[in-house]
């Protein structure tokens, strides 16, 4: 019974890991196919960093998202580093989104390019992603080697 439960949990974590990785690859990709200035403007709208920093983040973060997403999907190398990095990124993203939402900022979340305005839906989605990433990170550290997809 315990073995069966463990197996189900392991499969669930693998599925979550691959889905989370795919979401990160997609998030990076949709930003990379747009002029980076669009993402930089979105970052600047949060009023957290100066435009000069927003420009640097906009040109690097999408590549980081794609790389971390791919590492998470593959799950062979740097799994603990990638899952922990994604969790930390999601903590930052989620905090910024909550701050903007509570502050009444009617801005685009900048999560997947486009013009999605921050709403309860955004909070729910990013909150779920954060929980999933914490779970994946927990298992990545608990099991020295997680099953690959």
């Amino acid at each position: 019974m315990d073995s069966s439960k463990n197996r189900i949990l392991t499969i669930a974590v693998v599925v979550l890991r691959v889905l989370l990785g795919a979401v990160f690859v997609y998030a990076g990709y949709v930003k990379l196919i747009e002029p980076w200035q669009l993402f930089a403007a979105g970052i600047a709208d949060y009023d957290v960093v100066p435009i000069s920093v927003a420009k640097i983040v906009a040109q690097t973060l999408p590549w980081v998202e794609v790389l971390l997403g791919l590492l998470l999907i593959v799950g062979r190398w740097f799994l603990r580093t990638s899952s922990l990095s994604i969790s930390l990124l999601l903590v930052v993203f989620f905090s910024l989104i909550v701050r903007a939402f509570v502050g009444g900022k009617d801005i685009s979340c900048g999560c997947f390019g486009g013009t999605e305005t921050i709403s309860w839906k955004t909070l729910l989605r990013d909150g779920s992603m954060l929980l999933a990433s914490l779970l994946v990170t927990f298992y990545a550290f608990r099991n020295r080697r997680m099953p690959a997809a």
Binding site: P35, Q37, D45, I51, D106, T115
Partner: protein, 201 residues
Amino acid sequence: MNKLKAIALVAVMLLPTMAATPEQEKGKAMGNPAAPLLLELYSDFMCPACKHLHQVVLPSIVQDYVKSGKAYLVFREFPLNIPAHKYSRQAAAVAVAAGRIGKYQVVSDTLFRDQAGWGDSGKVLEAVSPVLAPAEQKKIQALMNDPTVLADVQADVDRGMVSRINQTPTIIVTYKLRQQPWTQFQDYSLFRGYLDGLLKK
């Protein structure tokens, strides 16, 4: 005879491209309507950020994209419905009325320049009178009460609502049928880079 028919046919086919757009007819557009980029600028005459855009950033946009034929610029009214902007709609009506007699640019320049003055007193028409001839002032005064002018202001607001405008100033950039709102004007190089990036696509 056949040659004449052919010429007439070509003329009929070209007619829609030669006709003025509704915005041109109302004096609220700049540039070539066939330009690859369409920039729709939604402003509120009482908004300080709109004043900054109009006076500092817009001349560069006009120079770099409108005059070079890369963009067609359309001015849209978006008077915010907030207590602090109680004369915004009136100012928008004055500007639209001025557009009907070909004076949109000079009147909107004046409205932004003297924003603090008429914003306090509510004397919008008086604020623009120095840049208008007496006959023009009378025409604008009459047009301000024209329901079609008020309807034009509302049509811009409705259009902005459909495009999910939630702040001013906003430029809706349309390129290859895709719309993207842009609200970040602190650093013009960012907007310029974005438009250049689109044009390279």
